[in-house]
């Protein structure tokens, strides 16, 4: 089923290319909807069969080049399942959002790449070996590049190039870290004398075979890649540019899923592979995250471009996500995973809204446009709603994630877990209350900039650009849009809104309960492995031992052949 989810969008992508342009969006809609339906079945089946003993389901492995030990294997745990669900949900929504925005003669290019992108994203979350993971991880860049470069606004070429090169450079460095780990595990633990690409094996052995210094270097390398993707301050500057220039669907996917690839990779690789280094350097990462939260938040406040504002708010929000991850406790990591989903929903929706507005007025400058409350009441209602979700209002989806991330950072304080001043609510971890406090100030900043945006965009007297979509100046052939949202546009927003409320009021039943056992296992694993890294001598010895074993094995083999 997982493979189906990867192949089906590709098939539909081909179909889109083969059919006439007018049919492209219908094929894309059909493809993404079908995937969503299958995905819903997948998610349903996953949680129906979920048990703490079997963290991964729907596993499959296909020998690709057995001689080189290369397999393509997939499988999903609860976190991956939820993120796949998010990806698939955003599929039809993105198609719906692009319905009129993409001119028909270029529709095939757009929807074809959109479907390819979806396949790649599902592939990243479904990957159980480095080959699939990294291939898909990098392959997301190409469709996004095309979408920005071909369908973006004025500054799109620069944005696309920067997006591609920046994230690609980072990923290459991350690849180096991953490959080194694969090599170390291969030569020191599994004895294949090559690279171990299987993620489960890597996870099992990496922390045992990498020395403290190696772990630190691998952490640095992986962070270079994943922090750019997230993006973490100060690696974020590609994001506002890319978001601003990307078409609406591109922004939605970028914010909704692509950024999560970074945090997901951190969850999947950084934490379990190099726990010792993570423990040691978590405060540094957390400080970067907190700087990002406040710094990007303040920058949002003075933006005039509303899309850029939302983009910077992503930087700020993802800071919470990283902070929660590096709190290394259940609350933080749970919060972080929740954040991945919830940020995808609420910020995705904000981008949709900005996109709908842009489609009508062809400007994003808040000095030119604003006060739409009376003119576009439905749009405004959604805007306020999703802003509140983004601000972290309890009862909506933003809150559980934000609260748990902050709480994770706050209680992650090893000094509190023992001794005279023992705090029962504190957990083992590298951060502490001050981190929680600093992150908490970010909540204030978030309120400031998002409400400032609402104040400009929704409230106040109506401001419209001098030339906007009127019957006379609308570009020929383009569909005429009504003043307020159409039913199609509402239909793209409504599912997100419903999920926002459901995830806000029933987070335990829908999300936390689903991922609890996996996250707890992950945290326990990191806790257990973070204590002692092997010394250089031990690592070297392990390598020698395995080499000898291998040589002995080969000699035997030769000896067996010779007589």
């Amino acid at each position: 089923m997982l493979v189906l989810l990867i192949l089906l969008p590709l098939l539909f992508g081909v179909a889109v290319l083969l059919r006439p342009p007018a049919a492209a969006k219908w094929w894309a809609l059909g493809g993404t909807s079908l995937c969503l339906a299958i995905g819903a079945m997948l998610v349903g089946r996953f949680f129906a069969n979920a048990s703490p003993d079997v963290p991964f389901q729907a596993q499959g492995s296909f020998a690709w080049l057995p001689a080189l030990g290369l397999n393509l294997s997939v499988g999903i745990d609860s976190v991956a399942t939820l993120l796949i669900g998010l990806t698939l949900l955003l599929g039809p929504i993105c198609v719906g959002a692009s319905w009129t925005a993409i001119p028909q003669h270029r529709a095939r290019l757009f929807y074809g790449w959109l479907l390819v992108l979806q396949a790649a994203m599902v592939g990243v979350f479904a990957a159980r070996d480095l080959l699939v993971f990294y291939t898909c991880f990098e392959f997301t860049l190409l469709p996004m590049f095309v979408m920005i470069n071909e369908f973006g606004s004025t500054n799109r070429h620069k944005a696309a190039t920067k997006f591609f090169l920046y994230t690609f450079t980072g990923s290459i460095i991350a690849l180096a870290g991953l490959v080194y780990t694969a090599w170390a595990v291969g030569t020191r633990a599994t004895g294949v004398d090559g690279f171990t690409l299987d993620i489960a094996t890597l996870t099992e052995h990496a922390s045992h075979v990498l020395t403290a210094r190696e772990q630190a270097l691998v952490l640095l390398a992986m962070l270079c890649g994943f922090a750019v993707k997230v993006p973490l301050f100060p690696f974020h500057t590609w994001l506002p540019l890319a978001h601003t220039e990307a078409p609406t669907a591109g922004s939605v996917i970028l914010a909704g899923v692509l950024l999560k690839l970074g945090t997901y990779a951190m969850y999947r690789f950084v934490l379990p592979l190099v726990p010792h280094a993570v423990l040691e350097h978590a405060p540094a990462v957390a400080i970067l995250a907190i700087i990002g939260i406040i710094y990007a938040g303040l920058i949002c406040w003075v933006q005039t471009d509303v899309k850029k504002l939302v983009a910077y708010s992503s930087v700020s929000h993802l800071g919470f996500c990283v902070l929660g991850l590096f709190a290394l406790n259940s609350a933080g990591v749970t919060g972080s995973v929740l954040y991945m989903l919830n940020h995808g929903l609420s910020t995705g929706a904000l981008f949709l809204l900005v996109g709908f507005m842009y489609e009508r007025y062809h400007t994003r400058d808040m000095r030119e446009i604003g006060g739409l409350g009376a003119k576009m009441p439905i749009w405004s209602t959604f805007m306020v709603f999703f802003v509140m979700s983004s601000v972290g209002l309890p009862g909506l989806n933003g809150f559980p994630s934000e609260f748990l991330c902050t709480m994770g950072a706050f209680i992650s304080h090893t000094g509190w877990t023992s001794g005279a001043a023992r705090h029962v609510g504190a957990t083992w971890g590298p951060l502490g209350p001050w981190f929680g406090f600093a992150a908490g100030t970010g909540v204030i900043v978030a309120a400031i900039y998002l409400l400032a945006m609402v104040a400009k965009m929704v409230w106040g007297t109506l401001r419209e650009p001098a030339v906007h979509h009127g019957e006379h100046d609308h570009h020929a052939g383009g569909p005429h849009l009504p003043v307020d949202l159409t039913a199609r546009e509402i239909m793209t927003l409504l599912p997100i809104g419903v999920l926002c409320i459901v995830f806000g009021l029933f987070p335990t039943q829908t999300l936390i309960g689903a991922i609890e056992s996996d996250v707890n296992a992950q945290v326990a694993f990191v806790h257990e492995r973070s204590g002692e890294a092997p010394t250089e001598h031990e690592a070297h010895f392990a390598q020698q031992e395995h080499r000898q074993q291998r040589d002995a094995g080969r000699d035997e083999q030769i000896a067996g052949v010779k007589p």
Partner: protein, 744 residues
Amino acid sequence: MGVSMTTIMDAILSAAVAQHGGEAAHAAVAASHGVTGPLWIGLIPLLPLLGVVLVTLLACFNEKSKMPAWISVGLLAVSFLLTLFAYLGWNGHDAIHLKLWDWIGLSWGDLRGQTLAAGFAFYFDGLSLLWMLFVTGLACLIGLYASEYMEHDAGLGYCRFFAAFNLFVFSMSCLVMGDNLLMLFLGWEGVGLCSYLLIGYFYKKKSAVDAGMKAFVVNRIGDLGLLMGMLLTFTTFGTLQYDALFNQIHTGLTAGGTPLSQTWQVWAIPLLLMGGAFGKSAQLFFYVWLPDAMEGPTPVSALIHAATMVTAGVYLVARMMPLYLADPAHIALTAVTWGGAITAFWSATIAVAQFDIKRIMGYSTISQLGYMFAGLGVLATTGGVFHVFTHAFFKATLFLSCGAVMHGFAGQLDMRKLSGLWSINGFRVVVIAMLIGCLNLSGFPFTGGYFSKDMIIAEAFVTPDSVIAGSSWAGWLLLLTAGMTAYYTFRVFFRVFVGPVVYEPGEDLHAHDDHEHADAHGHGHGHDDAHDHAAEHFHPHGPKWAINLVLTLLSVGCILSAGLYFLGDHHGWAGGMVHASSAVVDTHAVEGGEEALLFGQPPHEIMFYISAVFGFGGILLAAWFHGPKGIAGLLIGGRTTAAEVRMDPIAKALRPISTWAVRKWYVDEFYHLVLVTPLKIFAHLFHWFDKLIVDGLVNFFGATPRVSSDAIGESTQTGVLHDYALRMVAGIAVVLVVVVLVLF
């Protein structure tokens, strides 16, 4: 999951009871043996939520009638009745529990403190019941009032108003009824949102939008304290649930086993929570948002910014009283006392100088909230809570009366432009209601406000200074403030509601149709022309039945609330309610049994006289300075016009001070200078830093290879085949050299 969590909770509770058998009996006060309530209790908050949905649906169908109001009022009435039933069915001492579902539940171990369990659950004890009674009751009445008040906005705006209104009641119910701190936080932020939406109801007015944002942001600053306090509570006590928390506090130990008195958390947590409370209740540094919040429609001001939401902070402190009492040094309580007392006095000084009657009521609300906090601080929880209750009624009455005036005079609120409402047809009910409200507010003998305020001030003298530092000084400050309160209250009454009939309509003549309004402004004739033109044809219209009915009911409520003082055996009905809640204070245990004296008498007895004197004094001053000639001015007034009073020369003489007071001591400007401007500067700096340095570095690194490769390419890319081949061979040679050197 749910099952496991309840089991854990039960285990913790039983362990606590077993371990400290002695205190367990004492802990019964905190209602550890709660009873599970009937499911319909859950309807109390959920009915308003249903109201939100229904009103939103009406909005979708573009309903133009008053249907949203009737739906809201009906549902709120049912909600109120349910609360009443719950109260009547309550056994009077045990807390009622009702858990609907797990809201945020997370467990990472079986030990204590390894489970975060925040159910969407309710906890009913005396305190919550008391609050719920006036929240739902007043919400219902004010909803009815608003149905008429907002009628000019029928349509989308009307729906928007009532949706937010219902959402507010839902949030407030969650806040008050929640059984853990997270539920409280849910309500806390929810009411903040509704407050934001409703303050900014007239969203085309920039001042209203700014006020809404200011309210939300200032509240958020306080919320940071609440959030941190909550998290620290969790780490210290391992739970956020009231029952478990109070039981733990009663053991005198943290959940880790350290004696509470030796930890720093015992004062840090209450102080942090106090930050949240002060934010929501507009105390001390945080008060600035509340006066601006008067930009909202008056029913909103009455319900949210006077009667209910702003008392959430008081509720929080009262609810967390065991935590405040756990500190033997009472650091947090002292801070609460002085925070309250100073705020009470400070805002009274501003109120005496204002001319906008709604703003005066706003400042008066801040001042009264200060009383409540001071009451809690000096261990007079009963007084504080009773004052919340009486204040809710009389302040709602006052606001609604002001609202009726505003409604009738097209938004006119300037007391210099209004006079003699008594003599204007149709405003009699309003004036009487206003009078009753004013008497309550100024602490006129035998009114509800009189009793509740006296309890607070007297307790300030009763509580020794050794327990709460400077509590008697706080008492004097509060007494002085009582006099000022009487003065500014009756200043409004004497100037606006009695005396010669003078009026000018306000600017909201076309409030419901801003486009025309804006056009009028933009016209060549200018603002004044249009204004005068409108004024010529202006006739004040008195309130209709809904407003009059509500005002009448509220006035009756105000009067009756005084009677509550004589009910029950714990200093009145409110005392009884408090006694059956976590807010109960065993004053004797704290004070050591020594009876304090004031002027040689027990403070509680003599305070009736002293405060009456201060109250009368204030009223008489107001009458002298602002009262009209004749009986309406108590025969000592001399005002003949709306604009000129005897106070004016004095204010002129006190020029710098009076101007500063009128300008609200320039606090807003100060904040702007000290907080907002630097933050904005930082934001701009960061923006440029991001653009030039952070992004610049990236671009630099991007440009380096390009520039350098251009330079290299210029010299090497000759296009001649031999050059490439030679370089290739040389390259292979270099690689081989390396290989030979390394491998051989």
